[in-house]
Amino acid sequence: MKTITNQAGIFVRSTWLQYVALFQWATVRGYIGYKLVLPITQILFFVELGVYATGRHNALYFALGNAMQITANAGIFGVIATVANERQFGTLPMLLGSPANRLVTFLSRAIVNTLDGILSVAVAIALVVVLFGLNFQHASVPLLALCVLVVSITTSGLGLLFGSVGLVMRDAIVIANVIYYLMLVFCGINFPVSRLPGVLQLIAYSLPLTRGVEAAREVAAGASLSQVSGLLAGELVVGATYALLGYALFRWLENQARHGGLQEAY
């Protein structure tokens, strides 16, 4: 029991410290620019594109897809930057030298970004309702919130994996850009996954967000928990897989660094 309490304490402290130390990009102006203006304009752009292509009656499809994708903004950009910044700021050797539980410190990197992702989607969905007059009268709001929570967690899982890659790469933010924008194509944000060629559909369903967006759309159309539980469970499995792969990579890189004395080289 004492061990669990200790680990929980490390987790909370680590989460707080990573927020104050590694969330440095979130200045007020930076936050407004990248976390409010960018998501809002993304939604407006793709909704208008969708309206032009398919008519005003499909606005909800595009609005909800892009609102959900905004979680990836925090989950991908935020988490990758948070993990990779250990290298940039020269704190990686200290982290590797500490006796703290690696899994706890690793997962704590994602928490603030997950919460941030949820906040971003809440703002985005509110905006969609105000600007486009879309109503969610058929939707269960708590269930929609669950979809948002699940997607925020799973995109952070993907962020953890590529954040680990960022430990040994100079321009980690390049990876974040690649992943974030590829999700626009693969995850059924603006058109159904079924329109992709077969091989690309496989990639789509091996990524987080795809099932989460599908679930959110079904919830918006009035589906119940039992109807979307399979999609949400699948989404969680995909996210957990990426997080575990990220952790395994993190540990492997750590061992490589220890054996070769390469901490500073990272």
Binding site: F45, F46, L49, V174
Partner: protein, 246 residues
């Protein structure tokens, strides 16, 4: 230009982003029952997005990049006027941005078997030249803006998709609410883009001379603003020595 070949960000700008936007645009716009206008937006939209992205961002960081590389002082001390050096860099950015059309047109043709349904070659070429001039002026104007006020970078960068929206790169601005069309009209690329798409369709109005004139007049207005900003940059760098601290 040589530096851009080894920059992963430059590759993102001309290759990845436009290809992704082209793919989304083509999947959304290139469907059974689509109109020829929609096909044209699907074919050219990704390239225009990439062209704009490289021109404004790469060109806009023309001064900032010198500051980061520690070469700003040498450039100021060189006998060549500062604005001439920046103009050269901006032209390089615009030329680099044109590469965006290579992957996007290839994707449209080979991936979606989509081509521009009708092309008035002369009007298209002239409109494209006007668009390039407007991008050049925007890049030239953003460079001192980004150097003087750091807050401008996240704001304008964050508004990137807003420019796609207001400039009508992937759909006509006429579908936007009237108030948004008012903002769109203040952007030079909007008029040039309207002319480009009009050159790909036989229907609709073809007020090319009017659209070109509007785009060029607005671009010249941006140059006037840029001239004032460059004087400010010059003063901060030479008189107060504060440019490196801005």
């Amino acid at each position: 230009m040589r530096l851009r070949f080894i920059s992963p960000f430059a590759v993102l700008g001309w290759l990845l982003f436009p290809t992704i936007f082209a793919a989304v645009g083509l999947f959304v716009l290139n469907r059974p029952g689509e109109t020829p206008d929609q096909v044209a937006y699907g074919v050219l939209g990704g390239g225009l997005v990439g062209y704009w992205g490289v021109a404004y961002l790469d060109g806009g960081f023309g001064i900032q990049s010198e500051r980061w590389n520690g070469t700003l002082e040498q450039i100021f001390a060189a006998p060549t006027p500062f604005w001439v050096i920046l103009a050269g860099k901006s032209v390089g950015s615009v030329l680099w941005g044109m590469l965006s059309f290579v992957p996007t047109l290839a994707l449209a043709f080979f991936g979606f078997h989509a081509v521009v349904p009708h092309l008035n070659g002369g009007a298209f070429a002239a409109s494209f030249a006007v668009l390039s001039f407007s991008f050049l002026c925007v890049a030239f104007g953003f460079a001192p803006l980004f150097a003087l006020w750091r807050w401008a970078v996240p704001m304008i960068n964050g508004f990137e998709l807003g420019f796609y929206l207001l400039c009508g790169f992937m759909f006509p601005v006429t579908i936007l609410p009237l108030w948004a069309q008012g903002f769109a009209a203040a952007l030079a690329p909007t008029w040039a883009t309207t002319a480009i798409y009009a050159a790909t369709t036989s229907s609709g109005p073809h007020y090319f001379a009017y659209w070109w004139a509007a785009a060029i007049a607005l671009s010249l207005a941006y140059l006037v603003g840029a001239w004032w900003l460059y004087r400010l940059v010059d003063r901060k760098a030479r008189i107060s020595g504060e440019l490196a601290l801005a």
